[in-house]
Amino acid sequence: MCNKDVNKEVNENVIIARWQAGDQDAFDELYHLHAQAIYRLGWAMLQQSQAAEDVVQETFLRAYKARHRFDPTRASFGTWLYQIALNYCRSHLRRKRLLTIPWLRQTDDAPDMPDTRPGPESHTLRGEYRRMLWEAVQGLSEPLKEVVTLHYYMELPAVEIAVMLECPEGTVYSRLHNARRRLAEMLTAQGLTAPEILEAQNAH
């Protein structure tokens, strides 16, 4: 198992070296290894399929331009790509905020997802709870939403998020903590008390 991981890493390092030298085949391999994760990151952050595709494209373009700056001692290649993707998402959101002046707003700015219309599940307490939780996550401030998405959706460990955000690991945990407090507050404000939440979770 261990040997396999080591082999995998060595293998990726070889591919990266080839890619840095401009080898097209190496790019194909790296694309297959990382494109899906980057696409999901873009999708989770921007919630638009076109924008998520742009994230993938921009990330690989920028990574290629900056390929000699990649420092394997600082972060893994995947983390480095995530970091580029995240920065692109942030600037995209900033741009979008600039453009969301009401009279400029265009219809295609609306997110493709998620569909939070009441579905069959929402008639159950559990479904209702999940909908509220999703809305509460959407109501978090940008930095908190970011760490929640990275940690819970992308399932990245805090230490990796810390490298991506260029902050200490403690900051990631304190943001996760703040996010939890905020979410709990918002759910309480929605009228969901702790026993109800518990009941919702136990319901099937």
Partner: protein, 526 residues
């Protein structure tokens, strides 16, 4: 040992990322604290739910297979001709947004001009171009003001490194405003200042670049009369900043004064504060200040190169603050809230602006040790506990190499003695700010003042015998100096009606009010 809730450790605890020691403490606390236990259950519930909710709602989409070829194509284009895929939608939108912003900016500018009655930025043309030496000033050369200290021949030390009047620097006095000795501090400047002080400066400059030197205050007008003529009083220059609330000015002014209260000078650049004088005699950049002026660009920490009187932006962001010079190098250490989380972090930069380093450590008010490698700062550990004064080393890892020397949440504004291991700081253990001193290894905490008034913002004298500080003794803010060994106390100057701070921090910082605690003073032998 106070009982602390462990709420903020819960995520790290559930991830099994705590050190064994803290983990045990957290577990012990959880056994006793129903509140934290509730939070633990709440965190567990959310962890159980958040992942599935996000995955169900967002799905687990995969990129379309055509994307691979598109990216490849784009890469090929980039590589071959440096051309990028042009998405015309984005530029059109950006044009639209830029147009709208320009329109709004123009309207806001118009409104400003109408309301305030003058065009913002005009005074700046006269006042301080950044890096004037490399620009052609549209005004006549006589009017090019360059920031420089005014030195009074009568009181200035002979070995001063600051340029003296008549040394052939024809613009020496251009940007200085000598304060009349009867006015005593900023309040005098405020009282007598005409409505447009910048205009006045320029008028004087036109008259005679050096002609408005007036005899300096001898010192008797400031503070206690006795002792001011005491030859044992220390020498050097103390720098501090006051807020000038005069309508139309509403800005910080930075002053320089001798410890005996004489030789009061005002720095030419308006709306700068948090001065830091270099203790290093051969430093080309003897002064660092934080600029607030929104019209100046860049708004960040500037250093002044006295040989060429050039201003250099050494940092990048307007949140950069609290500079302190290295005693051994042309280097500053400073703190900034530049990250989006607004957490103070430590950085260093070279005085000529050539390089900046992120120390990757949270902290505030850093101060260099005499060796120029170690530094003290106020901070907490990464879990927000163990707050107080810390000592770090430029070449050590922030995680393992930095140590807490004094646990005291209210300890602020440390200043490390230029000659030994003593660190002076302010703290308010009993709801009253007083000065304290501690050795850099955390031993020998001593209280230096116990006056019921506020004593704060301490700064060591260059010989390490005296401490300058700000106090509101007698209900008037002023600058005081204290001989640490004997307890001898002198007032250097009273800020008559002078403001240490703006009452409303709005123009300065949207993240809260700025108080006197955010300022700093500095003392150098130069």
């Amino acid at each position: 040992m106070p009982i602390r809730h462990v709420d903020k450790f819960i995520e790290a605890y559930l991830d099994n990322q705590l050190s064994p020691k803290i983990r045990t403490q957290v577990e012990n606390h959880l056994q006793e604290c129903p509140l934290c236990t509730d939070h633990l259950y709440e965190a567990k519930r959310l962890r159980r739910e958040l992942g599935p909710v996000l995955r169900i709602t967002l799905g687990q989409p995969a990129p379309p297979s055509r994307l691979h070829l598109e990216v490849k194509q784009a890469l090929r284009e980039q590589a071959s001709s440096s051309r990028f895929r042009i998405n015309w939608v984005a530029p059109v939108r950006v044009f639209g947004a830029v147009g709208n912003m320009a329109l709004m900016a123009a309207l806001a500018f118009g409104a400003f001009v109408v309301i305030r009655g003058y065009i913002p930025g005009v005074d700046l043309l006269y006042n301080l171009p950044i890096d004037v030496s490399s620009r052609v000033n549209p005004l006549s050369s006589q009017l090019v003001p360059t920031p420089i200290l005014m030195i009074d021949n009568a009181t200035k030390d002979q070995n001063s490194k600051f340029p003296k009047p008549g040394e052939g620097r024809n613009t020496l006095g251009d940007t200085l405003k000598n304060l009349p000795n009867s006015l005593g501090g900023s309040a005098g400047a405020v009282k007598d200042a005409p409505a447009k002080p910048d205009a006045m400066t320029i008028t004087e400059v036109k008259g005679d670049s050096n002609g408005y030197h007036r005899p300096m205050a001898s010192g008797q007008d400031y503070g206690t009369a006795d002792g001011l003529s005491d030859p044992a009083l220390p020498s050097g220059t103390i720098a501090y900043a006051l807020y000038d609330p005069t309508p139309g000015i509403e800005a910080f002014r930075t002053y320089f004064i001798s410890p005996d209260g004489s030789n009061l000078r005002q720095y030419a650049l308006i709306d700068v504060s948090e001065p830091a004088l270099s203790p290093k005699a051969d430093n080309d950049y003897p002064l660092a200040v934080r600029t607030w002026e929104e019209k100046s660009n860049p708004r960040t920490i500037l250093t002044t190169d006295f040989p060429s009187r050039k201003q250099t932006a050494v940092a990048k962001y307007w949140e950069d603050a609290q500079a302190d010079w290295s005693p051994t190098e042309n280097r500053i250490i400073f703190a900034s809230q530049r990250e989006s989380d607004r957490i103070w972090r430590l950085y260093t930069a070279w005085g000529d602006g050539s390089r900046e380093d992120n120390l990757s450590r949270e902290g505030q008010s850093p101060t260099f040790a005499p060796d120029g490698k170690r530094f003290a700062f106020e901070s907490c550990d990464k879990y927000g506990t163990s707050c107080g004064l810390w000592v770090g080393h430029l070449y050590d890892s922030p995680e393992s190499g930095y140590g807490l020397i004094l646990e005291d949440r209210s300890a602020k504004s440390p200043d490390w003695s230029p000659v030994d291991e003593k660190i002076v700081y302010m703290s308010n253990p009993h709801n009253n700010w007083d000065l304290f001193m501690v050795n850099s290894d955390g031993s020998n905490v001593q209280q230096l003042t116990d006056d019921p008034a506020i004593d704060g913002l301490p700064a060591w004298s260059p010989d390490g015998d005296w401490v300058a500080f700000i106090s509101n003794r007698g209900d008037e803010w002023g600058l005081w100096i204290l001989h640490v060994a004997s307890g001898e106390l002198h007032q250097t100057v009273t800020f008559e009606n002078g403001y240490l701070i703006p009452e409303d921090r709005r123009p300065y910082n949207e993240h809260g009010k700025r108080s006197w605690l955010d300022e700093q003073i500095s003392w150098s032998s130069n």
